[in-house]
Subunit: 138 residues, 2 copies
Amino acid sequence: MKELKQRSTCPVSTSLDLLGDKWTLLILRDIVFAGKSTYGQFLQSAEKIATNVLADRLAVLEAQGILTKAVAADKKSKFTYRLTEKGLDTVPIIVELLLWGAKHGPTVVAPGLLEELRAGKDAAVAKYQQLAREQALT
Amino acid sequence: MKELKQRSTCPVSTSLDLLGDKWTLLILRDIVFAGKSTYGQFLQSAEKIATNVLADRLAVLEAQGILTKAVAADKKSKFTYRLTEKGLDTVPIIVELLLWGAKHGPTVVAPGLLEELRAGKDAAVAKYQQLAREQALT
DNA sequence: TATATTTGCTTGCAAATTGCAAGTGCAAAT
DNA sequence: ATTTGCACTTGCAATTTGCAAGCAAATATA
């Protein structure tokens, strides 16, 4: 089991110990905003994560209680990754990264999403968290 | 000049291309929440960043317009790093990381800060942004 | 004026992480 | 019985990180 080393007691630092890399939050983004849940789906994202890096991150995220791994409902040879409540609590972080990137970089955002977030951030965050919770039941 | 490679047009991904590592946001945290501004001060933080990594990150952040480098007011042999408006816009990201870390990890937070953030996130963000702006004038 | 110290880096090198390509094992479909 | 799909694992090269030391210019001290 890979233990996570904590560099300090600062909460920003502690969050970055787990989330501070180029891939982890993209996996969580895929679950929340793209409704993805399987290894194969994560591999298909535009950023092209390497297979070993994906496997490593999924293992760390599961070990840290950010997501759960379960046999898929339809196929026993397939796994379904879902966010825990701790994982759902990262949605505000992802949203702020999204807003910053959309404001300062050349990006493409799903139509309506920016407006929805700007109109009411808390409500939008709650909505996407709830959607992810409901998917976990199917 | 180190060019930043963009993995996709997703705004979350674009933000992580620049901010997605273990050190960059800690430097910004030090400026916003600890009032730091010099190379030597950044080196003294609890997380102990390596000198070459710090030099590299400061160069990237300056090149990307997140911070500005200027000769210090008191000493010509000293430099002062300050946030640009683009840099100040990362404060909400840092705040969300702080809140997540404080909720889910064993951390120590300055007394009153959590209460201040929970009482009114937007107002607190605006306050710390304004404080950083004012420091830039001294 | 000479010497020491402060400040902000740079350099060299070992260790760890990442990226790429290929391969493996198991379940399910054909 | 064989092939396909899915979830990884493995090997290896390239990049990034961490650590220790060194360096150069500006300032402080003797």
